[in-house]
Structure formats: structure tokens, C-alpha cells
């Protein structure tokens, strides 16, 4: 559904929430804004993106979802919703990550496509239509890649290092995986397993689930340019996230390959050192007070612990694979699958802890 021209930015959409019929009309876009740390003025972001969509006759609903602590940031948005703007506000019952907020809201999305925006400026609003067009042309998910030319050199270096490491560890190349500005088909959110901070890696996870993912280069918003250097904690968290993602994408179904490799290497080093120490003892060197003895046994112990963890992982995989399919079909010719026909999946029920705050 496309809206007829008219109704400029800031103009309340009087058709929204009016008749029961209008209530059930399907908008073109559902724009989800998970309100997390340090949001910038949300009403300004809403007005700017609404104007960008209006300029192309796209009917968009906006879903703001937040934890209770962020309620204060939504005062102006609540006022806009009361004035008839196409805004819905949701709140989760407990402190939740970006992924939880997004997934919770996704159950309420009615648009043909889902747009995600961070609660702060990232890209020039007019650029969002490039992503929408790319998905309409066939991509399952289009992710914004900012130029970031105005950032502090150290931040740009960190950005480059992060994406180089990502390419090395995971084997997939992205220019700006963490922009947070994405347009996708609803099935992406239904089928990609998201939790915790995995939202940052949604394009990578979607690509691993065989969705067609494309990055679209867009202009960075001037207020996104960071001239301050990130704190050391940010670097640490990003590297940890990256290693976690690399592990999950490569070893999800074979954890013993990873833990066995690490454990085997440690145990081998320990056994070699222990053999040397014992040989030296036979040659007459006292053994009982040598640090090398402790180190060798410690390495052996660490190695065995790692292998044991791998075995636990294999038990978990064995029981979790169950009867679920671990693959996606691209095509089936010459017969119907015994499984569900493609696209028959129902939209998951929103979690009960997510409450919609209707504003009249």
C-alpha cells in the first residue's frame, strides 16, 4: 500500500487509528526504533525519517520499544502519538538488550518491510530510500554502510581493524556491519536467531542463514561523526563480540573441533614439557621444586578441561539438533517436500512480557 501524495512532514496522519478498516491496512514500512543507551532527540529522528518516507509516498508506522528506564526519553514521542501520528510505543518488562527489543517489537510489525533505526543519528534520512529500493529489487536485507570520513582517525582505525578481523575470522566482508540502519523482509527476523547483542551482527547472521544481504553505501549524518575516541571498554567488548560470533558461525555444530584443537595443543605442550622435566629428573636434576613441573601439569589440566568443555558442547548440539532442519533449500524440483511449504511459517507471538502502550 502506498499513501496518496499529501500530508507533509509533521502533519498528523488522520487516517491512522481512525476507522477499524484503516487500523488493519498494511503499511509499506514498519520502522522499529529500539531505545537503548544515550538516545538523541527521538522526535527529531522521527520527523526527519517520516519526511523522507512521505517524500516517496511510503506509508510507514513507527514502533518505539524501550526498557522502563528509558521512559523519559519517549515523552515527546508519546505526545506525537497522542496527536495522531503513526506511532506505537512498546515497553519491555525488564532490562533487555537491543536484540530483545527488536524481536519483541517485530511481532507487532504490520509493514511489508521492516526498517530498523538506532535511537541516534547515523545516516542522512533521505538515504534510507536507497535501502528500501534495494530490498524491493530482491535483497532480503539491506544494511547501511556509512562513509565515516569525519570520524576521529583512531575511530576510523578501530573501524578498519574490526572489519578486517571480521573478514579473517568469519570469511565474510562487510564495510559497516554495526550501522544499525537496516531494511529487511519480515522473514529475516523470524528466521535469524537473535539474542543478547547479536543485533549488531544481524547482516552477518542473515547471510549465514542464506538470505541475500547487501550493503548500501550512504551518507553519514553530521551528528554521527565521532571526534572523541572510544573508551577501552568499547574496544574490548567489540573484540569479544567478534570472537563469539566467529565461534558460533564456524563451530555451532562441531564444538569439539574448536575446544579439541585448543585443548589438544595445550595438552601436547604440557605433555612435552613434562616429558622433558621427567627426563631431566632421570639425569639427576631434582624435580619437586621446579616451576616447570607446575607449568607442564597446568597446561595438561587446561588442555583436558578444554576437551571436556568440547564434549559438553557436543552433547548440547546432539540434543538441540533434534528434528530441526539445519539447512535451507534454494530450490526443489520434481516433488513436494514432506515439510512445511516455504513461507508457511506463522509470525511468532510476541513475548508476554512485552506490553504495548496504546496512546489514545
Amino acid at each position: 500500500m502506498r499513501r496518496a501524495p499529501g500530508g507533509g512532514p509533521g502533519t498528523p496522519d488522520t487516517s491512522w487509528g481512525g476507522s477499524a478498516e484503516a487500523e488493519h491496512e498494511r503499511p509499506d514500512l514498519s520502522v522499529v526504533v529500539p531505545v537503548t543507551e544515550n538516545p538523541q532527540p527521538l522526535d527529531e529522528i522521527y520527523e526527519a525519517f517520516r519526511a523522507a518516507f512521505d517524500a516517496h509516498d511510503e506509508v510507514a508506522e513507527f514502533l518505539f520499544v524501550s526498557a522502563p528506564w528509558a521512559r523519559g526519553h519517549l515523552a515527546k514521542i508519546r505526545a506525537l502519538a497522542r496527536a495522531g501520528h503513526p506511532i506505537r510505543i512498546f515497553e519491555v518488562g525488564a532490562r533487555a538488550g537491543e536484540s530483545d527489543l527488536l524481536l519483541g517489537a517485530s511481532g507487532y510489525c504490520r509493514g511489508e518491510l521492516i526498517v530498523t533505526l538506532p535511537p541516534y543519528w547515523r545516516i542522512q534520512p533521505a538515504e534510507i530510500m536507497k535501502l528500501v529500493r534495494r530490498v524491493r529489487e530482491g535483497a532480503a536485507l539491506a544494511s547501511a554502510a556509512r562513509g565515516q570520513t569525519g570520524d576521529h582517525p583512531l575511530n576510523r582505525l578501530q573501524h578498519w581493524g574490526f572489519h578486517t578481523l571480521l573478514k579473517r575470522l568469519v570469511g565474510t566482508e562487510f564495510q559497516d556491519i554495526a550501522s544499525g540502519v537496516r531494511v529487511m523482509r519480515p522473514e529475516v527476523l523470524r528466521e535469524v536467531p537473535l539474542y543478547g547483542d547479536a543485533f549488531r551482527f544481524l547482516p552477518l547472521l542473515a547471510a549465514r542463514e542464506d538470505f541475500r544481504v547487501e550493503e548500501v553505501v550512504v551518507q553519514q549524518h553530521p551528528r554521527d561523526r565521532r571526534t572523541k575516541v572510544y573508551s577501552p571498554g568499547t574496544y574490548f567488548r567489540r573484540v569479544i563480540d567478534l570472537f563469539g560470533m566467529a565461534f558460533l558461525t564456524r563451530f555451532t555444530h562441531k564444538p569439539l573441533r574448536f575446544f579439541g584443537l585448543v585443548g589438544g595443543a595445550l595438552a601436547l605442550a604440557g605433555a612435552t614439557l613434562l616429558a622433558v622435566v621427567v627426563a631431566q629428573r632421570l639425569a639427576g636434576t631434582p624435580l619437586a621444586n621446579r616451576p616447570a613441573l607446575v607449568i607442564s601439569v597446568l597446561l595438561l589440566v587446561l588442555g583436558l578441561q578444554s576437551v571436556a568443555l568440547g564434549l559438553i558442547g557436543e552433547i548440547i548440539v546432539h540434543f538441540s539438533v533434534g528434528e530441526a532442519r539445519t539447512y535451507r533449500l534454494a530450490e526443489e524440483v520434481g516433488g513436494l517436500s514432506r515439510g512445511e511449504p516455504p513461507g508457511s511459517e506463522s509470525i511468532p507471538e510476541p513475548p508476554p512480557e512485552l506490553a504495548e502502550h496504546r496512546t489514545q
Binding site: 562441531k254 624435580l287 564434549l311 539447512y327 530450490e331 524440483v333
Partner: protein
């Protein structure tokens, strides 16, 4: 005009062929299967394309247009042979399912012999390549070592675990799922998890005439790790605490012997026995390892228990061994 499968809803036999970049082989495979099964049973032939980058998929599509018994199941990307086989099993409609390589090294003329053996009451009949036509160093020697290892460790007396030509009863495949690289251990998994009744039949083997092999010596390490996994899953999946307790016994007993022995001997003959801080640290480390392994065992029990409560219990299939 396409041939119609007489009873398309449920043929007697489904032949599964996982393929990866085998554009020159899919046509001859289809022709040989058609010739081997002519006039015997209703059948379907399912090519599972594991993300080929050549024209394999197009060629299978053409084959399917000409013969309705030929089907294409194309995976969205390359998943590996285990997943490709599982995708074929999921799509198969036959009462009996046969897997065969797509490189023409297996001979479809052996399929009737496997099916005949299956009809004697077995759940799984595995092919055994008597005169293998492969490279000695990169294929035959590693395969020989792997087969002996698998046989010794799993206790399942199959001589050729690597032969893809196998026949299965549908009921067996409904009780097990392949993932990771478990296709190399199908008989061990089937016997251990699904209590399958297994037989082996000698089959022909031909040298590869087209395409390239996807295997090499690099798989040796993976096979060894997978062997540990399969053994653990087979023997301890329902009682993991037993495995971890047994593993904890070694460092636990070592620590006790070293600690108690060193203390007693040190008291009785201090001039003969070396004891010191490092010695004591080693004893503590070994004790810590034993405790850690025990705790992991408890955690594993928790995982198994949670799964059995939360989902369908994985009760082994009871095999009838006497008529």
C-alpha cells in the same frame, strides 16, 4: 513427454545422490540408475545439490523435466555432505532409501543387491568396496587407518565406513539425524543410537572419470575429532556423568597417590623423597581437575535431563532380532 512415476506418492525406493560440482556426472548417474532399476520397483532419484558453482543444478533440472522420477533438492549454500544427505533423506518418499555418490565411482547395478539384503530383515546395509580404485596415499591409506580405528573404538564391525552406497529402512532414518560430518559414521551412529540391525555387502568401485575429488589428507584431523564425538554420543549420551566420572578418576587417584604417598614417604624417609611447593601444587592441580570434571558431568546430566523434559525423548529404536 516426461515419464510419470506410477505411484508418485510413495515409491518403493528413493535413491539419494549428494552432488557438488558434478555437471559431467549427473547425466550418466541418472542413466545408470535408470538402467539398474528398470522393471524392478517404483523409484525416485533425488539429486541433492550442495551449493554447486557449475551447471549441475541446471542439468538436474533438465533431467527432471524429461523424467518425473528425477528430483532436484538444491541447498542454498554449501553445507557439507552430512547435511546434504540429511536433506535428501528429508525429501525422500520411498520405503527404502539408498544413498550413492555422484561421481560414478559407486555402481548403481549394486543397488538391487543391497535392497535384497535389506529385505532379509536388516535396517541398514552398507556397501563394502572390494577393489577400490582410488589414490593410494591420499585416499586408500587414510581410509584403511580410519576404518580400523572406527571399528576398534565403536565396536561396529563395518569394514568400509566411507562407502556412500548404503541402503536404509525409512524407519531407521526417522530415528536419527545427520549433522556436522557424521556421514562418515552412519553405521556406528545407527547401531549406537537407533539399535539398527546392520549388514555389509560387497560392491563394485570404479575410478573417477570426470570432475574432481573433494577429499584429501586434510580431513584426517577432523575424522579423529569426530570419532571422539561419535564414541561419546554413542556410549554416554544418556549418562554423561559416567563418562566424566571415569575421566575424573585418573587425576583424582593420581593426586591421592602422589599426595598421600609423598606425605607418608616424606615422613618416614625424608632423605629419599623429594617434596616441595611445586610437588604440592601439582597435587592440588590434579585434584582441581578431578573436581572440575565431576562438575562438568553434573552439568551434562542437567542438559540431558532438560532436553528429555522439554522435547521428545530420544528413546532408542528397539530392533526385533528374531522372527
Amino acid at each position: 513427454m516426461p515419464l510419470a512415476c506410477p505411484s508418485m506418492s510413495r515409491p518403493k525406493l528413493s535413491v539419494i545422490v549428494p552432488v557438488l560440482d558434478e555437471e559431467d556426472n549427473v547425466g550418466p548417474v541418472a542413466e545408470q540408475v535408470r538402467a539398474a532399476l528398470r522393471g524392478k520397483w517404483d523409484w525416485e532419484l533425488i539429486f541433492v545439490d550442495d551449493g554447486s558453482e557449475d551447471t549441475t543444478r541446471t542439468r538436474v533440472r533438465q533431467l527432471s523435466q524429461a523424467d518425473a522420477r528425477i528430483r532436484l533438492v538444491a541447498l542454498a549454500r554449501r553445507y557439507g555432505q552430512s547435511t546434504a544427505m540429511q536433506a535428501g533423506f528429508d525429501s525422500a518418499r520411498g520405503e527404502i532409501i539408498v544413498s550413492i555418490d555422484g561421481d560414478l565411482q559407486n555402481d548403481p547395478r549394486d543397488i538391487p543387491r543391497l535392497v535384497a539384503k535389506l529385505d532379509e530383515g536388516y535396517d541398514l546395509v552398507s556397501g563394502y568396496r572390494v577393489q577400490r580404485r582410488d589414490h593410494l596415499i591420499t585416499r586408500k591409506v587414510p581410509s584403511w587407518v580410519a576404518n580400523r580405528l572406527i571399528r576398534a573404538i565403536t565396536g561396529v564391525p563395518i569394514r568400509d565406513n566411507g562407502c556412500s552406497l548404503k541402503a536404509y529402512r525409512r524407519e531407521l532414518l526417522e530415528r536419527m539425524r545427520l549433522y556436522s560430518d557424521l556421514h562418515r559414521f552412519i553405521p556406528a551412529v545407527a547401531a549406537g543410537i537407533a539399535a539398527a540391525h546392520i549388514a555389509e555387502v560387497q560392491v563394485r568401485h570404479h575410478p573417477r572419470t570426470a570432475g574432481t575429488s573433494k577429499y584429501g589428507l586434510t580431513r584426517v584431523g577432523s575424522v579423529l575429532v569426530d570419532l571422539v564425538t561419535v564414541t561419546m554420543i554413542r556410549r554416554f549420551r544418556m549418562r554423561p556423568l559416567r563418562l566424566f566420572s571415569m575421566a575424573a578418576l585418573v587425576p583424582g587417584l593420581s593426586a591421592l597417590v602422589l599426595g598421600a604417598g609423598g606425605w607418608i614417604a616424606g615422613a618416614l624417609a625424608p632423605h629419599l623423597i623429594e617434596t616441595g611447593v611445586s610437588f604440592l601444587t601439582v597435587v592440588v592441580l590434579l585434584l582441581a581437575l578431578a573436581a572440575y570434571l565431576l562438575m562438568l558431568g553434573l552439568l551434562a546430566e542437567f542438559v540431558v535431563r532438560a532436553r528429555r523434559r522439554g522435547g521428545r525423548p530420544t528413546i532408542p529404536m528397539v530392533a526385533e532380532v528374531s522372527a
